[in-house]
């Protein structure tokens, strides 16, 4: 049973409708089920717009997280057609022309419908000790010879969990630190602010730390904020390798 024709030809829509298939686990159910909805769409309709429309007018029991509507809070992460996205900045036009399959993020415990438990992500980020604010220097559009203007800004990472969901290793090994934590660790190493980065490097120098990555780079592909967790993980490895080789060569030359 689908939505009525009248609802599909919404006053704002161009007469077009898209079918959204939501894979949702209801409270108390052992397995998720598929619910289908038809939504009227315009040229700029985002996936979040469509889901809010469904929630407001078709199924008030649909639970999903969202807040800022511009990729800054990181709460509306989900899988659309198998790919991790933030619903608020994903135009339906970018999701092909057929039915759209929506699932909750992976590698996190699903609480209900599209809502996942973010506890593990925040637990994994905490030891990295990365502050919320970073120091930066270059504004967009500034040329190479432009004056260096320092300013404070929020870290790029919006703690959305897309990288963890996309990670091929996190899928099979819950003990893996994960791309979000490793990216945060690299940020602490590059901007230690007087703290000793060795503590964080020792934390990631583990078989479940930066060495567990298998270089699929999926985390960097799906990150909506340009964090490049894969690059960060490789940079941690490079730094650790450099330090270990340095220790070996120093010992070889009889110095400590």
């Amino acid at each position: 049973m689908t939505a009525t024709e009248e609802q599909v030809r919404h006053q704002q829509g161009t007469g077009q409708a898209r079918r959204i298939r939501i894979s949702r686990r209801r409270h108390g159910a052992a397995r998720p089920q598929v619910d289908e909805f038809d939504v009227a769409v315009g040229p700029d309709t985002t996936l979040l717009d469509a889901l809010r429309e469904i929630r407001s007018h078709q199924d008030r029991s649909l639970t999903l997280r969202y807040s800022c509507c511009h990729a800054s809070c990181g709460t509306c992460g989900m899988r659309a057609n198998g790919r991790e996205v933030l619903a608020c900045v994903t135009p339906l036009a970018s999701l092909g022309s057929g039915p759209i399959t929506v699932e909750p993020l992976g590698n996190a415990r699903v609480e209900h419908d599209l809502v996942v438990d973010m506890r593990d992500l925040y637990d994994s980020l905490e030891p990295a000790g990365r502050p919320l604010i970073r120091q930066d220097e270059r504004l967009a559009g500034q040329g190479g010879d432009a004056p260096v203007l320092p300013f404070a800004r929020y870290e790029d990472c919006i703690e959305c969990g897309l990288c963890v969901s996309a990670c091929v290793i996190a899928g099979s090994d819950p003990a893996y630190l994960g791309p979000a934590a490793l990216a945060a660790a690299w940020r602490t190493v590059t901007e230690p602010r007087g703290a000793d980065p060795s503590r964080v490097l020792a934390w990631v120098d583990d078989e479940q730390g930066c060495w567990r990555c298998h270089a699929s780079f999926e985390c960097t592909e799906v990150c909506p904020s340009g964090v490049d967790p894969a690059g960060a993980t490789m940079a941690l490895r490079r730094e650790l390798t450099r330090r270990k080789l340095g220790r070996i060569t120093r010992r070889g030359r009889g110095r400590r």
Binding site: E36, D59, G82, A166, S172, G231, A235
Partner: protein, 138 residues
């Protein structure tokens, strides 16, 4: 709240892959994950082949007669085709493995897709040469 437009199908959804198969998801993935997937699959197949190879070598202990019959089997065109695939898998796994070793120490990370394209291209070119040589064309 309009119950009339609720569209519950109640159809069970596919549960996401977890545990040992958690890496096997391919839909919606990008090139780096394709490389990972190829490496893992070729790796598993090569490990499987290794056991087969050991099994075949064991036949050497059973004397020249059984070894000769095995060699006759290997001259079969279909088996030769499989052997050429084996060489392809070794090249892909090996060259991509080199890419992983380099990139995985933090060198050339920005060019990881180009490295993979090069590995596949070289493997494909060598595969062509191998096939042509195997079937006596060159």
């Amino acid at each position: 709240m309009s119950a009339a437009t609720t569209t519950r199908t109640g159809r069970p959804a596919r549960s996401p892959l977890r545990g040992a198969a958690g890496w096997a998801r391919v839909r919606g993935r990008h090139l780096g994950s394709v490389a990972f997937f190829i490496n893992r699959v070729t790796g598993l197949l090569l490990v499987g082949y290794l056991y087969l190879h050991l099994g075949v070598l064991y036949l050497l202990t059973e004397g020249q007669g059984s070894w000769a019959s095995v060699l006759r089997l290997f001259k079969n065109h279909y088996v030769l085709g499989l052997e050429s695939l084996l060489i392809l898998f070794i090249m892909v796994h090996g060259l991509n493995g080199l890419r992983l070793a380099v990139v995985g120490t933090g060198i050339g990370v920005r060019h990881q897709k180009a490295w993979f394209a090069a590995a596949i291209s070289v493997s494909a070119a060598l595969y062509l040469v191998v096939v042509l040589a195997m079937f006596g064309v060159i």
